[in-house]
Subunit: 655 residues, 2 copies
Amino acid sequence: MKNLCKHLGLAALATGFLLTGCKPKGTGDAVSGDAAERVYVKPGEHDEFYNFVSGGFNGQLNIYGLPSGRLLKVVPVFSQNPENGYGYSEETKPMLETSHGFIPWGDLHHVELSQTNSEVDGRWIFCNENNTPRVARVDLKTFKTAEIIELPNSAGNHSSPFITGNTEYVVAGTRFSIPFDDENGDIPLDSYRQNFKGAISFIGVDPKTGAMDIDFQIQLPGIDFDLSHAGKGPSKDWFFFSCYNSEKANTLLEVNASQNDKDFLMAINWRKAAELAKAGKGRKVKTKYAHNVWDEETHTGKSEIREEVTMLSIEDLKGSIYFMPCPKSPHGCDVDPTGEYIIGSGKLAALIPVFSFTKIQKAIEKNDVIGDYDGVPVLKYESVLHGEVEKPGLGPLHTEFDAHGNAYTSMFLSSEVVKWNIKDLKVLDRQPTYYATGHLMTIMGDTAKPIGKYLVAYNKITKDRYLPTGPELTQSAQLFDISGDKMQLLLDFPTFGEPHYAQAAPADLIKKDQPKFYDIAKNNHPYVARGEKDTKVVREGNKVHVYLTTVRSHLAPDNIEGIKVGDEVLFHVTNIEQDWDIPHGFAVKGARNQAELLIMPGETVTYKWNPERVGIFPMYCTDFCSALHQEMQGYIRVSPAGSNPELKWSLNNKN
Amino acid sequence: MKNLCKHLGLAALATGFLLTGCKPKGTGDAVSGDAAERVYVKPGEHDEFYNFVSGGFNGQLNIYGLPSGRLLKVVPVFSQNPENGYGYSEETKPMLETSHGFIPWGDLHHVELSQTNSEVDGRWIFCNENNTPRVARVDLKTFKTAEIIELPNSAGNHSSPFITGNTEYVVAGTRFSIPFDDENGDIPLDSYRQNFKGAISFIGVDPKTGAMDIDFQIQLPGIDFDLSHAGKGPSKDWFFFSCYNSEKANTLLEVNASQNDKDFLMAINWRKAAELAKAGKGRKVKTKYAHNVWDEETHTGKSEIREEVTMLSIEDLKGSIYFMPCPKSPHGCDVDPTGEYIIGSGKLAALIPVFSFTKIQKAIEKNDVIGDYDGVPVLKYESVLHGEVEKPGLGPLHTEFDAHGNAYTSMFLSSEVVKWNIKDLKVLDRQPTYYATGHLMTIMGDTAKPIGKYLVAYNKITKDRYLPTGPELTQSAQLFDISGDKMQLLLDFPTFGEPHYAQAAPADLIKKDQPKFYDIAKNNHPYVARGEKDTKVVREGNKVHVYLTTVRSHLAPDNIEGIKVGDEVLFHVTNIEQDWDIPHGFAVKGARNQAELLIMPGETVTYKWNPERVGIFPMYCTDFCSALHQEMQGYIRVSPAGSNPELKWSLNNKN
């Protein structure tokens, strides 16, 4: 603890150098002797679990198999993906529209699998974007981004996308408070305390389709909201959020937001809030935010701008919103499987506080408050505390659970995972991690029915753990077996982007309803060619629509003439295969601002090309599709601007 | 063989469905009993080999550890990389410039490690781009793209980037013949035979710096060049290329380019060609191509357009260029470690022809030709043949070697790897692969000193091998131990993008000279701030330069005012850390057309932001850097266009 105190000294904070996590001493017998066998998935066999891992600064959702740690797929969500044309094709570009215009990148921090009765139901996974606040829903049938909604009156959407137990709501909270959109004028930064506000968004989710809609927001003090979790069981109507910067600093936060001994956990009765919003409480705030929806029938995204949200106030929520003091600059805000215990992880704290929902309710009943913070009543710490885990390690960040009443907390500064008993708060085991663990996860570890079995620690520092790759290194995860009394390290595996929160679920729950390809009969893309007979080239002014098909192993048409410099050529490429794992790709030499397309069987995708030079331009299939893939090519002739060439297209010299 | 014949029937070809590779029957004892132990790399220990794997349609270079199959790094080369800002930052955008303008994507097919005396020297790795023809050089100290050169008079740069034994030249050959740039006017496609030409480029490489320059090109018939390899030992002055479409078809190539029983391997005496070019032979062809170079001192790329190349003709090369008949539509063109044997892999052939360099020389001496093809003398097949491997399997694609005189050929159609003896041409072993293997590699398997030990097969079809992820599946590699008489399958591991060719080298050869960070004293970026004292905000008309630093855990400055709507704000972010594995990230809410930056210690990178809305915009560090990373944030105030706000910047209220 002395070390931590030293860390917390202002001098140390001002330089910050001591706060990157220590190299743990001695690995002991952390690695199990038969670890190799236990993580090996024999060729042809499948992993037991899907591990859905946030990509952090890559903006995508990365999916691994466990226990092997193999990267099965990167689902593009908030960032352009040159690999398959996401964010480059005409159909997918709308998915990255915002009220600010097209943004090619996002910072995907957390993921949350949809739930029914606080258990994973395998339908969707939600992802948050931290920079230009957004929440996405990924469909777990197609593993595609189905919907993205922007969050107005927010910045740094960090305490997101956590959900209520029947996926009624996804929440999203401001990490960086800002003036609200209807007041976001030319405001001096030194008026932070007067003008900057926090907001929490409650995004309603349609129980059948998953469609998202901002039901209401809550206006809150101008502090920073960090993480959150909904209650379960007895606490299922409540949502809990961690907050830091109760100092309301707007500069050098590492010092100025680290002054108070305690910040807060916030408790909100979300069901009550929803009722109030439904009853017409709250003011309407003018704003602009994008709502982007993917249509599986047209294989096309559509972006719309919305202009108003309902904003509830603290006053509106009287009796349904409370702060609880929580040491110090809390990060994780985690609810145990029973729903009785809420754990705050103060990243600068020397202990872990565990709050009791029963005690919270009693304190509310008795109005056991120590005052208010900007109108939010602050419950008395001692009255709502179940107890404190003492000497847990340095820099507790995040806690998950197993099926046996145990909690597992990541320790950023002391680089370890610590296992402790939720009821008696005794530390049971600790294992070093390499290095500086941020989030961790256990299998379904934030639900009412954790499986436990494995724990994965997502580490921030990797130096010396893998073959070096110059100054830029991979991030890393570590897999532990937690089925026994002691945690056993099994595997280090590199991770893509920068993982923050992750979740995992049994394979059977996820893989049951996946299509192997898209039914071309149901393809209602406006420019679909359902067979080669439908292929054609149509000029509309300077726009040229090419209805093109791909099938092993030719493009139809594969000779096109009559295009001119200055045209906008739209290749609507339909993959007319109807078989599993037979995508085709498409690209044209020299196409500016365009990445290739990968077109799945039955799908239509559009490639935009503005020819700027007279000459011959090859096009080809970019995905090795058959022994004659190399032969899957064609040519486009581009004639001068102002010329009047005949529009011609053919395959094997036939139209 | 009957199956293959059926495959080759025109009906089958026309539909193409039979050509995607079969599911092999029976895996036998392919998986070794102790495979788990043999691929497991204990946490904290390092892999034995770096595996440099082409990313194919992701456009990047993917680096894996072997034997674990873990993805250590994706080096962005030809595609934008939202994860670290490559292709989005002002410094890296020039690297993706071409004569067509900025192109955000490339199709990276093959890699080749630099060599000295036909052995891997660990300095650079070259990568080709297949769509808009380019060759890149990646520096193996920094694992960064150091240089990209565009290839004029070319399309579909496939037979690239193979090198001569002392890295004197990197070659690049046209896959899709086109009219040359000085004749690429408004040309009808049905004039293919008259107007379309092939070209091979010889890119000179500076032996000290690695700097590339197109030394000369060779004008060739309008056919398709596929793969290539330089000779070694006795054949070291020669380069060999595979060619298909000797039919010169320009439509439905799967049928029309599959007519001839034999296409060609081409042999060129590159040393002689270089002498001729040096002596002033060849014509100058006007063209435009980009040459992009990364400067490690300014951390900045620069793109220049060049306007002329030297073009040698077949006539110029008399006595130094020959065709050798090769069955049928050859893909791989591989030279054994001794340099005596050249293997063509006719992807529609029912055998593997092995040519003898000694016999080729004798045939040339005796002018043992059967005629010419567009002026290129065609040597007599029987005169240059060492022999044929009989019944090797279906669809041979690519061959590599071990240290014991054995060759390993991938069979796309019959989905297997076949081991055979180079001298006696006997098949020694075959193992099934899953499925449809394209390229394969053995450790340093195309050099004069292969290590062998492991073979990796890169497969095109993955269905059912991993947990499914909707219609879009991962690609896959399979690791075999080839140290014994029989190949043993050890591991399936998913791969990123679509691997084509790959190479591997021992870790010690690569990791020796890597910097852990960039020396900030040597940072000569024009907008560097080498410490917080150098931070400032400077207005130049509507351009605002922000000299900003990052260090654990604050941005300096972190409060900025005086920016206006309509400004172009350039954040020049210098990471002033000087320690290993402490990158910082940078992003601003709502920034259009911009991905985050990842800035390595000692580096300066520029983020462009065009504010379009009055208000407050947070910025923050996007890479979790310390326990107080969440506090590493700041605010920018944007005032209305036409207003005259004072330019102010501060950290903790101090300038």
